[in-house]
């Protein structure tokens, strides 16, 4: 039985213009459709960008990678930023091996993401 990803969305405490989205479980073909609207909506709802917390995510399929790329492109086209944080080693490795890490912006935590992506900009 595949558990559907659970989604929570809150504004960043220290930077309310940025929203923080937390996902959990497996992000694959059987679950990606159920979270895609929420992720893309979160990008468009956030005034200056989105941080996605993957700490509770155990697996990302190619459908999951495509979702993050779409979200990133949407953010980029409306002049917003995006970052992924708190990836487990197994999930982090997927982004490294796929060569997506420089594009997507992967950070250890919210603070580092805010410092590197939003405050520096």
């Amino acid at each position: 039985m595949v558990s559907a990803p659970v989604i929570t969305l809150v504004p960043s405490a220290s930077h309310p213009e940025v929203k923080c989205l937390s996902l959990s479980g497996r992000i694959d073909t059987s679950t990606v459709n159920s979270i895609t609207p929420a992720v893309l909506q979160a990008v468009s709802d956030s005034p200056s960008g989105l941080i996605v917390d993957l700490h509770e995510v155990s697996f990302v399929s190619s459908a999951g990678l495509r979702l993050f790329l779409t979200a990133f492109k949407n953010a980029q086209s409306s002049n917003k930023k995006m970052a992924l944080i708190r990836l487990h080693p197994e999930v982090y490795k997927i982004f490294k091996v796929a060569g997506l890490d420089p594009m997507l912006g992967i950070f250890k935590d919210e603070k580092q993401a805010l410092d590197e992506v939003w405050r520096k900009a």
């Binding site: 990836l87 487990h88 080693p89 197994e90 982090y92 490294k96 250890k108």
Partner: protein, 863 residues
């Protein structure tokens, strides 16, 4: 003009070196293991004896590293490497895998180009020469320009010792005039067999790009994760030991420490106590500018193997005289953090990780930043942490709780093969992640004997026979089965005959409940199986009793299989296979939920003892034989009392079915000594008793013999399988609604003629040595006491006897005689031939048929 001359000189020198080595490698192929071992022993001894002067020469010439450590490296290359390869078999027959019938012989490669680095010049030269000698290869050593004298001296020492011990002249050569052009000329020389390249990435890439087989190494960027559970004293000791060894010149040496925040202060404190100097931010900047060439974005050669004080001097900073290592705190990995690169000198990067995940991710970043596939290191006392780290990090060697330099080169701190050439796998663009050793410098020739496939003989564990055995079984034996709920699968006729009622009465007396599924018609369909299965799932029987002709028995076997293993699908089960033991879909043994008792009420199919069932796809009418020994019934009850009222035409059809089973299993390519007597006996019984049983259905003796013949033929073909007689009968019967046994009878003579001729295509089965169907048919003729002075006569006698038998039991002589219009047959024949070709029975036929052949047989059978 000058360039042209130089090019000519280079080519002449390369040609001469290779020519000498070529002669030596030819001569060397004749040496025995004993001679080779004597040579390697002498060579290793000489190298070990010269470890001190070679170390001194290397330090003086290169200006890199630590004399005392280079002594250890030379000793490692001679003593450890020699000890590791000493007893290895590298000549002639090196391994015999008796069970696989495979002999492995070692074949030398020929000439190896051994490229050695400036960092470990003498030890690498010794190492490569010893490996070459042990494998009867010759080697041309091509040293670094900056370590030429000491490299060639090491090669010379090994060579002269080898020569004195009887090695061929020129078995080791070396380059006195190194240049990029020379390296290229040697790498691309037509006679060069393999490049064994140790050096910088550009050199290794050149080796791989030369078009020659190459074993190379890649750069490392070794991360060390110090987990919160680590033994800190041990970790710090090992890191210092390893990173200071020869001033950090081993490519497996530590490059970055990644330390869990909870123990960071303690680790720092211990490092300082051991003489580590932590650089300030400003000092870090100065050091990074001299260690990493800012323009080339790579390690600067001038710092390689230098002392910390020398590096500090170059960077213009002051450090204590007793500082052993320089350490820089870094926040990230990548071009913005130059010291996150490989640095073969006593400079380390230091990272703090908030937790394990963050630490492993940093190590992943470091390996991806120029060290993929090489080596990684972890200090932790928690095996789960080590395992998770190892699962994620891509490194050919993951060294645990040990110094990574010594751990990576193997044998000192672990049982990796001792080596000075460490493969870095695909991540480092290498062919292997192994520590390179003699096995990589040999071609293994595998001599493989013809191996016979294991065969088998499997039938139900209990077969009851003699008239009345059904009553005895259900009134007595059944009590030992310990069952409570029976499910009876039967046809309408078995109900009418009263057999089912009789069985239910016995069961009731034994305290066993029973239910009946009697909806099985001829050629059971998938829908029938599914409806029986749902009844079965409701009743949850622990005994299944199948009563009837072939159809209820086949249906019960399919239901049993799916009842026991609901995860299997019909699509899986019908999947064609070449070898029943290697099929893609595996079926676990049945019997966890229920046992199957099979009771035939006709004498033909043999289904009560076989591993087969035929299920028809209701939509296409195509028949699918499902085969697996798992569906062999547990018990078969062969009671001739049950066949006394079989109608005449059914007696004839089923009798011919039994005959076709026995005939086909006797000439099958899988036939064996175990199945042959059964097949022959079944054939005799059918010929002797079918006409009588047909003429007089009340002839109890004939009925009994025929009933036995059917089961005995079943025992033969469940182990020897069938052939194209059945492949053709399956589709012929389905297309023109001809009873199965009769369809078999129609094609029988044509199939015998086809199989008895020399096959146009041979079936591939190792146990079937050469075509012998003709002789096998003649043996059958002989067993039937038919005229058989030659095999040809035997075949014709058998065909005539079959024709006679068919006539005696009222069967039409041909398909045409059976009333099938020629126009209808002509329309169907192409499709029938194609489907027969795909039939599972075709695979064990004595001749591998072409579709065209099957068409001809069908026409011949049409008449």
């Amino acid at each position: 003009m000058e360039n042209a001359n130089k090019e000519k000189d280079v080519k002449a020198i390369a040609d001469s070196l290779v020519q000498q080595a070529k002669e030596a490698s030819a001569v060397f192929t004749q040496y025995s293991q004993q001679e080779v071992d004597r040579i390697v022993h002498a060579a290793a001894k000489a190298a070990a004896n010269h470890r001190i002067d070679l170390a001194r020469m290397a330090v003086e010439e290169t200006g890199m590293g630590v004399f005392e450590d280079k002594v250890i490296k030379n000793q490692f290359a001679s003593e450890y490497v020699y000890n590791d390869i000493r007893d290895a078999k590298t000549v002639g027959l090196i391994h015999h895998h008796a069970a696989q019938g495979i002999w492995e012989f070692a074949e030398p490669l020929g000439i190896i180009l051994g490229i050695t680095p400036v960092t470990n010049p003498t030890s690498t030269a010794i190492f490569k020469c010893l490996l070459a000698l042990k494998t009867r290869n010759t080697i041309v050593i091509c040293g670094s320009r900056n370590a030429l004298k000491c490299t060639n001296e090491a090669a010379r020492i090994v060579y002269e010792a080898a020569l004195a011990a009887g090695a061929p002249d020129y078995v080791i050569r070396w380059v006195d005039t190194p240049s990029r052009e020379m390296t290229h000329a040697l790498m691309t020389h037509p006679d060069m067999a393999l490049i064994l390249a140790t050096g910088g990435m550009s050199l290794v890439q050149a080796a791989y790009g030369s078009g020659k087989p190459a074993i190379g190494v890649g750069p490392g960027n070794v991360p060390v994760f110090i987990d919160k559970d680590a033994d800190i004293d041990l970790a710090v000791h090992d890191v210092i030991l390893s990173k200071t060894f020869d001033n950090g010149m081993i490519c497996a040496s530590e490059q970055s420490l990644v330390v869990d925040r909870s123990i960071r202060d303690k680790v720092e404190e211990r490092l300082k106590a051991h003489g580590a100097y932590f650089l300030s931010e400003e000092e870090t900047k100065k050091v990074q500018d001299v260690v990493i060439d800012p323009e080339k974005q790579s390690m600067s050669p001038k710092v390689v193997g230098q002392k910390p004080q020398r590096i500090a001097q170059m960077a213009g900073i002051e450090i204590p005289q007793d500082a052993r290592i320089l350490i820089a705190h870094l926040d990230g990995v990548g071009e913005k953090f130059p010291l996150s690169r490989e640095k073969l000198c006593p400079v380390l990067a230091f990272y703090t990780a908030n937790d394990f995940d963050e630490g492993v991710n940093l190590c992943t970043d470091l390996t991806h930043f120029g060290g993929l596939g090489h080596t990684a290191s972890i200090f932790s006392q928690n095996p789960e942490v080590v395992q998770r780290f190892s699962d994620t990090i891509n490194a050919g060697r993951i060294v645990v709780n040990s110094p990574s330099s010594h751990g990576g080169i193997g044998d000192i701190y672990n049982r990796l093969r001792p080596s000075l050439t460490l493969g870095c796998g695909a991540g480092g663009r290498n062919i292997t992640t192994d520590n390179v050793t003699v096995t990589h410098l040999l071609n293994i020739k595998r001599i493989t004997n013809r191996m016979m496939n294991m065969k088998w003989f499997r039938v139900p564990s209990k077969i009851y026979f003699e008239p009345g055995c059904l009553d005895v079984f259900f009134s007595h034996e059944i009590k030992d089965f310990g069952v409570r709920q029976a499910f009876i699968v039967c046809s309408g006729s078995a109900m009418r005959e009263g057999t089912v009622r009789r069985i239910q009465d016995y069961l009731e007396q034994a305290g066993i409940h029973s239910s009946v599924f009697s909806d099985v018609k001829s050629d059971p369909t998938l829908e029938t199986i599914e409806s029986g299965l749902s009844a079965m799932r409701k009743d949850k029987p622990d005994l299944i009793v199948a009563v009837g002709g072939g159809s209820p028995l086949d249906a019960a076997k399919a239901m049993w299989l799916l009842y026991e293993q609901p995860e299997l699908s019909f699509d899986d089960l019908k999947l064609y296979f070449m070898d029943i033991r290697k099929r893609v879909v595996k079926v676990a043994p049945l019997g966890k939920k229920a046992k199957l008792v099979a009771i035939p009420t006709t004498s033909g199919t043999g289904s009560e003892v076989t591993a087969f069932t035929v299920v028809t796809d209701g939509a296409t009418r195509k028949k699918y034989p499902i085969a697996d020994y798992a569906i062999t019934p547990d018990v078969a009850i062969i009671d001739p009392n049950l066949v006394m009222s079989v109608p005449r035409d059914v007696t004839a059809d089923t009798g011919l079915d039994a005959l076709s089973h026995a005939l086909e299993s006797y000439v099958s390519i899988v036939a064996s000594d175990y199945t042959d007597p059964l097949a022959l006996r079944a054939i005799q019984l059918v010929f002797q008793h079918l006409p009588a049983a047909y003429r007089n259905g009340k002839d109890a003796a004939a009925r009994e013999k025929l009933h036995n013949a059917s089961t005995i033929a079943g025992m033969a073909f469940t182990n020897a399988f069938l052939g194209i007689n059945h492949s053709l009968a399956h589709i012929l019967g389905a297309t023109f609604h001809i009873p199965h046994g009769r369809a078999n009878a129609f094609v029988m003579n044509a199939v015998i003629r086809y199989n008895a001729a020399l096959p146009k295509k041979f079936p591939a089965f190792p146990n079937y040595l050469y075509p012998k169907a003709k002789e096998r048919y003649a043996e059958i003729a002989e067993a039937l006491k038919l005229p058989c002075s030659t095999p040809e006569e035997g075949v014709e006698s058998l065909i005539k006897a079959i024709s006679d038998l068919k006539r005696q039991v009222g069967l039409p002589a041909s398909i045409r005689e059976a009333g099938v219009p020629e126009s209808e047959f002509g329309k169907a024949v192409d499709r029938m031939a194609e489907i027969a070709f795909e039939d599972q029975c075709t695979v064990s036929n004595a001749s591998y048929p072409l579709v065209e052949d099957l068409k001809k047989i069908l026409w011949e059978a049409f008449g």
